[in-house]
Amino acid sequence: MIVSDASSIIAGTRLVKTYHSGILSGEKTFAIRGVDIEIHEGETYALVGESGSGKTTLGRVLLMLIPPTDGMITCNGEDIIHKTDSELVSFRRKMQIIPQHPEDAFNPRWKVSRSILEPYRIHNGLSALPSKKENLLKLLEQTGLDPDYANRYPHQLSGGELQRAAIARTIALEPSFIVCDEPTSMLDVSVQASIIHLLKDIQKKTRVAFLFITHDIRLARIVGDRIGVMYKGLIVEEGPDILNNPRHPYTCSLTENFISKKKIIEDYQNSGCQWQSVCPKADEICCTMPSLSSYNGAKIRCHHLNN
């Protein structure tokens, strides 16, 4: 058993998620194919990858919103895969998610205040709770929302305001780990900037760990303390500076905005490196799966590191 070091809030080991489709055909879709990931206190891990690479699945698996097919997840060193739903409740308090579409994450018939305070109703074991109103005002103030907004319905708020409300609800229970699933991809650029600043402020105060999922490489460069690049269900490169000094051919193509038409129609390779069909460096050895090896402070999954 691999024991993660003490400072990691959440760690996933050899995580696999497979979906079966078709009762007779028995087709399998590999959403994630054996991912090791570890996120520390106060750290932002930016996960980059194109649509369908498995970033959202990985985020949800780490929160146990989707049970993994195989692998292990530890939260503060404790295994959470084999826990029952009721045992998981106390962990769920510590792990939260900020959604991509805040408009879908609110009950349209509830006032915003009721949604923001919902976590307190679910986790009623909280002791020494100050009054509801005090809590609400504190959360609204932390997220920069006008107290008047609490009495409105979700459709009366703009996308940016609603995302702030979603963040208020997320931080209500003072979580130690938050999955931010493309929290700004639907927002205007100026609003995006203010939401990112808000998240960073919260992190400074509470030392919360973020898994920041995005497809915007420039944004990942700015927000990520450590960056992981995901391709077809695998992390192919990971490190603090990999977007400025990419080594993996796939990361290079992402940072150079290179596009291959072939890749769009290419399906999964049965074995070996998934990038081999379009990789300029590919040869026979790429038919076997490269392992994630350490290289200059980063980790990389490629056979051709030295040329």
């Binding site: 194109e50 649509s51 369908g52 991509q100 703009s158 639907m186 100026s190 609003v191 915007d216 420039r218």
Partner: protein, 317 residues
């Protein structure tokens, strides 16, 4: 320079519980033949309403004044049958969300063929061949196979390309696209950029409505910035990205991740609470006394800007 669409004094408002809400106000804009004009602005700035009013797709409840000329013809006052013959054939519209832009129970080829059957008088079998060609042209391979599938089987990027295949099947002169890259990842986005670049090379006039500054940087000839229903800046691409004139435009450029992610303070007021005078003044670092008076769109050589600073400079120089 020749103008294919000429918009003057265009104001669109809506009735809401007895209040008159003005979505766009006094728009003056000439769209030049063959140019790519990118309209940027945040949600609620009125950019989609502008696009919809060119195609006369606004609901009947909208109160519209002013005029829009398409090659000299008055779009706003012509009969329904006349606008039908222009909309979809000479001016194509690519709607914001490709997921809801298709009929889910109709095979893809039929949806792409439909405009050619209606506007160009092709038979269904000819139009089917053309539809498959169109799909292939936009990299939906193998086109013959995908033509017989339903929209649900397409990915987001493919739907966006299929939407363009449909919009361009009648060889329009102008294409108006609303947020063609919203929520699309970088790799698919580049494919969409390339697709529009191809259309641009063919000499089609493009009006791209977006809040994606990458799209503007990649494709625009000129950029129109909208804020709270008004045009506040019209500039050439280089001018806009290297030396934006309006304080709001500068704020947008500075809020990009590569420029340090500096937010503009505050937020745009809702439609019912618009300021008189400069509508941006409460968020502006360069606010001064004169900003409370109404400011016209000031002409500067080829560009225009709605900011008092340029008024005084104009008078001085």
């Amino acid at each position: 320079m020749e103008q294919v669409i000429d918009i003057s004094n265009l104001t669109v408002s809506f009735q809401d519980n007895g209040n008159l809400l003005t979505a766009i106000e006094d728009i003056q804009l000439g769209i030049r033949t063959g140019e790519t004009l990118v309209v940027i602005g945040e949600s609620g700035s009125g950019k989609s309403v502008l696009g919809l009013s060119i195609l006369r797709l606004l609901p009947d409840t909208a109160l519209i004044s002013g005029s829009i000329l398409f090659k000299g013809k008055k779009l706003l006052t012509m009969s329904e049958s006349e606008i039908e013959s222009i909309r979809g054939s000479m001016i194509a519209w690519i709607p914001q969300n490709p997921k809801t832009g298709f009929n889910p129970s109709m095979k893809m080829w039929k949806q792409i063929a439909e405009p050619s059957v209606i506007h160009s008088g092709l038979s269904w079998s000819e139009a089917r061949k053309q539809a498959i060609q169109q799909l292939g042209l936009y990299n939906i391979d193998p086109a013959a196979l995908w033509a017989d599938k339903y929209p649900v089987t397409y990915s987001g990027g493919m739907l966006q390309r299929a939407m363009v295949a449909m919009g361009t099947s009648t060889n329009p002169e102008v294409i108006i696209a609303d947020e063609p890259t919203k929520g699309i990842d970088i790799i698919n986005k580049i494919a969409i950029f390339e697709m529009f670049a191809d259309l641009k090379r063919k000499g089609i006039t493009l009006v791209l409505i977006t809040h994606d500054l990458d799209l503007a940087a990649e494709l625009a000839d000129r950029i129109v910035v909208m804020y709270c229903g008004q045009i506040i800046e019209v500039s050439g691409k280089n001018q806009f990205f290297h030396n934006p004139r309006h304080p709001y435009s500068r704020g947008l450029i500075n809020s990009l991740p590569q420029n340090g992610l500096n937010p503009i303070p505050g937020s745009a007021p809702p439609m019912q609470m618009r300021l008189t005078g400069c509508r941006f003044r409460e968020r502006c670092f360069e606010q001064r006394e004169q900003c409370t008076s109404n400011i016209p769109l000031i002409s500067l050589v080829d560009d225009r800007v709605r900011c008092i600073q340029y008024n005084s400079r104009n008078q001085a120089g």
